[in-house]
Amino acid sequence: MIEVRDLVKVYSLGDTELRALDGVSLTVGDGEFVAVMGASGSGKSTFMNMLGCLDRPTSGEYLLDGVAVGGLSKDRLAELRNRTIGFVFQGFNLLARTSAIENVELPMLYNGMSAGQRREKAMATLAEVGLEGREHHFPNQLSGGQQQRVAIARALVNSPSLIFADEPTGNLDTKTGGEIMRIFCRLNEDKGITVVLVTHELDIAGYARRRIHFRDGRVVEDDRSGGGCR
C-alpha cells in the first residue's frame, strides 16, 4: 500500500529552482498495476525514485505499508529496497563483466543468505523469466530482451511486494517489449506483486489497469478505465 500526500521535490540548479514534483497526492493499493505517464520532464521518474526509496522528497509525506519513509535512516531505506522493492530500469543496469547469475545474486549478497541458497534461488528465478542455460553468460553476450529478463530476475529474487519499472521497454523493439510486458503481467496477476510502470508509450501503458498522467510535477489525470493484460 502506497500513500503519498503533498509530495514536493525541488532541485536547485544554481539560482533557479526546479519543482520536479509539485504537490502530488495519491494512493496505490496492493496488487495494482499502475502506469505513470507523462512527457519527459513531467516529474514521473522523480516520482518513481521517491516511491522506490532511492530519493527523498523535499516535503510531503510518503507512507509505505503504513510506515513513514521520510523518517527512516539510510540503512533502513537500503533494507526496504533490498526486501520489499525491486527495480527494473530502461538501460538494464546490469553489472558489466559479471555473469547473469551473479547479477541476480547481487541483492542476496546484502541480506546474509548463504552462497548455496543464493545460487539456488538465482537459478530458480532465472528459470522463471525463461533464461535457463544462460546463467553464465555475460551481459554483452545477451540480447537486450535477455538482459532485461536478467534485470527482472534480479528485481524478483528477494520476493518483493513492489516492482518499479522505469521505461523497461524503452531500449527494446516492439516484439521484445511485448514479451517483457507479459512477464510483468504474470508477476502482477499470478504473484500479486504491485507493479508501478513509468512510460510515455501509450500501448505499453495499456497493459496497466490504471494510468496516472503527470504534467509539470502534478497529477493531471488518473484513469482507471480499460487496459489490462491480454
Partner: protein
C-alpha cells in the same frame, strides 16, 4: 575405482554457522572475489599501482635480511674470538713530539705478560702474540700463511682447542722446540685429506714437526680467515723465524664480562707503572676491548638498517598514495556500479567494505610479490657479495602487516567517498 571417496548425507541441512563464519563466508569471500575480478580487469593499472608496495616490501625484507645476516655473522665472530677478550697493542707513544702509530714500537715485552698474570686479579688468561707471514712447504706443495707465536695460554685465552694431536706446552716455549700446530685451512692446502700430525713441514726453510690441528674457527670480525694460520711457540718464532724480541700484541681475557672494565683498568695501571710513565703522559700501549668494538660494529649495522628502513617506509608511503589515487579513480569509474548496488539494497558499510577490501587485496598481493622479490634479492646478495643475508619469519610477517596497514589506511578515504554516495545520483552517473 578403489580410491573413490563416497560422501554421504548430502541433503542434510547445515548447522547454523557461527557469527564470524557468517561474516567471512557471506561478506568477505564474495567481496574478495569481486575485488580480484575488478583488479584483473585492469591488469596493467593494478600492476603499476602495486609497484610502490612491491618495492617497499622488497626493500624491507632485503634490508632486514642483510641486517639479520650481519648480526648473525657478528655474533658468530664474537664467539670465535673467545669471550671477554682484551687486545693490548704496543705503541701510541710519543717519540720526540711525533706520536707513533700502535704496533710500530717495541714497548711490550714478555715480562709485561708475566706481570699481568701475577698482578691483575680481574684478568683470567694472558697470551703473548708474535705475528708474521711465512712461506711454508710440505713435499711438493707450498703456501703462504700467517705464523703466530704464542704460548700455552693461547688455547684458553682464545677458547680455541685442538681437534687432533696436542697444543703447544710450556716445554715447547722453554725449549724453543720446532713444533707447530696448524689451522684447518693450512692443513687443507698442504695435506689435502692426509693426516698431518707427526709430519714435518718447512717454515721459512726451517723444519717443524706438526703436533696438532686446531678446531675450525671461521672468519674474524675483520673478515680474515682465522683458520689460515700456523701456531708455534713465541720463543721459537722470535729466534728462529723473525729474529726479533718484540711482541706484536698481548691478548688477555677478563674473568667475567662484569670484570671487563676492571681488567682494562688493572692492565693500564700495571703497564704504566712498569713502563714508568709519569701521570699526564700518554700510554705507550693501547688497549682494545673487542666486545666494545663489536658493539660498535653492531651499531653501524643498526644505523644502516634504520637508513634502509626509512627508504623502505618512504617507498611504502608512496605506494600507499598510489593505491589511494587508483582507488579514487576506481570509485569514480564505478559510480554507476555503486548506484546499482545501492538500489538493490547495499548499505553504506557494504560499499565501504567492498572498496576497502579491494585496496587491501591490492596491497596484500603487492606485499606477497614484494616478499618473494625481497627473498630473491636477499639470496642474490648473499651469494654474490660479502654480506651474509638471512630472511627472518618476523620480517616477512612484519612487512606483510605493513602492506595490509597501508592498504587499509590509504584505502579508507576512497572507500568512504564511495559509501557516502547518493544512490540516485550514482545511478544516473554517466
Amino acid at each position: 575405482m578403489s580410491g573413490a571417496i563416497i560422501f554421504s548425507g548430502g541433503g542434510r541441512a547445515p548447522l547454523r554457522p557461527r557469527n564470524t563464519e557468517i561474516v567471512i563466508t557471506m561478506y568477505i569471500l564474495p567481496t574478495v572475489r569481486i575485488a580480484l575480478r575488478a583488479l584483473r580487469v585492469n591488469k596493467m593499472r593494478s600492476g603499476l599501482t602495486m609497484l610502490g608496495i612491491i618495492i617497499g616490501v622488497a626493500a624491507v625484507i632485503t634490508m632486514l635480511a642483510v641486517g639479520e645476516g650481519a648480526r648473525a655473522s657478528l655474533a658468530k665472530s664474537v664467539q670465535s674470538l673467545g669471550s671477554n677478550l682484551v687486545l693490548i697493542l704496543p705503541g701510541s707513544s710519543t717519540s720526540g713530539g711525533a706520536r707513533l702509530g700502535s704496533g710500530n714500537v717495541d714497548t711490550l715485552v714478555i715480562d709485561d705478560v708475566v706481570a699481568m698474570r701475577e698482578d691483575c686479579s680481574a684478568v683470567g688468561g694472558v697470551a703473548p702474540i708474535v705475528r708474521g707471514s711465512a712461506q711454508v712447504v710440505y713435499a711438493d706443495r707450498n703456501w703462504n700463511t700467517s705464523v703466530l707465536g704464542t704460548d700455552e695460554y693461547f688455547e684458553v685465552v682464545r677458547d680455541w682447542s685442538v681437534v687432533e694431536g696436542r697444543f703447544l706446552t710450556r716445554q715447547d716455549v722453554d725449549g724453543r722446540t720446532k713444533n707447530c700446530v696448524l689451522g684447518t685451512a693450512v692443513v687443507k692446502e698442504l695435506f689435502g685429506s692426509d693426516d698431518p700430525v707427526g709430519r714435518v713441514i718447512r717454515i721459512k726453510n726451517v723444519p717443524f714437526t706438526v703436533v696438532g690441528v686446531l678446531a675450525e674457527k671461521g672468519q674474524s670480525p675483520t673478515g680474515q680467515d682465522q683458520d689460515d694460520t700456523i701456531v708455534v711457540a713465541y720463543t721459537t718464532a722470535q729466534t728462529r723465524l723473525f729474529g726479533s724480541t718484540r711482541l706484536n700484541a698481548v691478548m688477555a681475557t677478563a674473568r667475567s664480562s662484569e670484570l671487563l672494565d676492571k681488567a682494562v683498568d688493572q692492565i693500564t695501571e700495571l703497564l704504566r707503572q712498569r713502563h714508568k710513565i709519569p701521570p699526564g703522559e700518554d700510554d705507550d700501549f693501547s688497549i682494545r676491548n673487542l666486545t666494545e668494538m663489536l658493539a660498535m660494529a653492531e651499531m653501524q649495522t643498526k644505523i644502516m638498517a634504520i637508513l634502509l628502513g626509512s627508504v623502505a617506509s618512504v617507498s611504502l608511503l608512496v605506494g600507499g598514495i598510489g593505491i589511494m589515487n587508483i582507488m579514487l579513480v576506481s570509485v569514480t569509474e564505478r559510480t554507476r556500479e555503486i548506484g546499482i548496488r545501492m538500489a538493490v539494497g547495499a548499505k553504506g558499510r557494504d560499499i565501504l567494505l567492498q572498496f576497502l577490501i579491494e585496496a587491501v587485496v591490492l596491497s596484500l598481493i603487492g606485499g606477497l610479490i614484494g616478499i618473494a622479490l625481497g627473498m630473491g634479492l636477499s639470496a642474490l646478495i648473499g651469494r654474490f657479495s660479502d654480506f651474509e643475508t638471512q630472511v627472518s619469519v618476523l620480517s616477512v610477517v612484519l612487512s606483510f602487516g605493513f602492506a595490509a596497514a597501508v592498504g587499509i589506511f590509504f584505502g579508507y578515504y576512497p572507500a568512504r567517498k564511495a559509501a557516502a554516495m547518493d544512490p540516485i545520483v550514482a545511478l544516473r552517473y554517466e
